[in-house]
Symmetry: C2
Subunit: 200 residues, 2 copies
DNA sequence: GCGACCATGTTTGCGTTGACAACATTGTTT
DNA sequence: AAACAATGTTGTCAACGCAAACATGGTCGC
């Protein structure tokens, strides 16, 4: 009996819950995630998650926050390299962004849904802002190099970033299945950079 | 006792459920919608919705479908007028689209979430495609007038429509509160039409 | 007229869930 | 070693979705 089959304390329940939830959510959908099933899977009692998350929503918010932190790290990496041209940089940024959304579609939806909620926790809000911050640098640098029209970077960037965000929403629908995603992103960014109107 | 206080049959429960649900969803969120509360509000028993919707999801899907039908009608109206220039037409289209999303944020989220679900009903899928169809006409007409670069309209339009869709997602977050929405849409569309790169 | 039929709402019940309170166990601090 | 804080467990409750059996009232063939 020396080998305690199940130590009374799990040891790292919070992390175990988060990673199990992340996997579960991606397969069954965020709406179908139940704390009890999660507890069952991990092997703890049905009320233990309460010690770490006040309620179901708090767990989902924590999941979203972690998502923003990971996305932010990936985007920051993608946005490095001032030397590169604006379009190349924006394309890299967009590709990373889109790939993340593709790889974790449910988590991604969760992230931006949580961000939009009026009662979103401050930590989540802050994580989302930090994650997306690298975008503005790309635009201001582009302006400094004369590759981007003048104006408030936030407003100029809105058009570009909106296109990226929209592309994600549209490709999530599964449209354009035949075309490789990176190709599609490259095309859209080029189109956004050059404009829809033909150039002289 | 002659005046039947509550006629046994409601008469139009399906519609009553849908409109009550649409209102409720917008205030408490789709996830918090319960069939029982809905039934209580309407004044029927908690199991009656089952006659009209197989389950909760079916009701939400019907809600989304109705949403696409209304959005489609509004977009079709906005896309009329071949005579108008491409940019003006696209701007009107975008404004109507964004306003709809703003006025019914939860429903809008529901619509595109349902559309993305792999097991979405055919009727819903079809409604969503029809609703968004007017967009391609705007682009092909623009190409015919030489106001839009050549190429597969679906691919060209992707950039434009992605921007609209992304703008919705971003403004839903409540950013850019100070700026009137129509102004913002106009700016973004102009930027998309002209491109981010300065014109000679 | 009238009885079978059918659409629609009701009643009752079951299993699951989120939330909560009281208690148990373990590690730490004094 | 005694108090304490952190963490997990057990038991309970109200609400929910779903389902089956039943009730009601209009419609249609005859």
């Amino acid at each position: 009996m020396k080998t305690s089959r199940r130590p009374y304390h799990h040891g790292n329940l919070r992390e175990a819950l988060l990673s199990a939830a992340e996997r579960a959510v991606e397969t069954i959908g965020a709406g179908n995630l139940t704390l009890r099933e999660l507890s069952r899977e991990i092997g703890v009692s049905h009320a233990s998650p309460r010690r770490h998350f006040a309620d179901r929503q708090a767990l989902l918010d924590a999941l979203a926050q972690r998502g923003f932190e990971r996305l932010g790290a990936a985007l920051a990496r993608a946005a490095r390299g001032k030397e590169a041209g604006f379009e190349a940089r924006l394309t890299r940024f967009a590709r990373v962004h889109v790939r993340f959304a593709r790889r974790h579609p449910v988590l991604f939806g969760l992230m931006f849904a949580a961000k939009g909620r009026p009662d979103a926790p401050d930590a989540l809000r802050q994580a989302s802002e930090e994650a997306l911050a690298p975008a503005t640098a790309i635009f201001t640098d582009g302006q400094a190099r004369g590759e981007v029209v003048a104006g408030d970077p936030a407003r100029i960037g809105l058009a570009g970033y909106a296109a990226v965000q929209g592309l994600i929403a549209l490709t999530a629908g599964g449209k354009f299945k035949g075309v490789p995603l990176d190709t599609l992103v490259g095309e859209v960014i080029e189109r956004i950079v050059l404009g829809l109107r033909p150039r002289a």
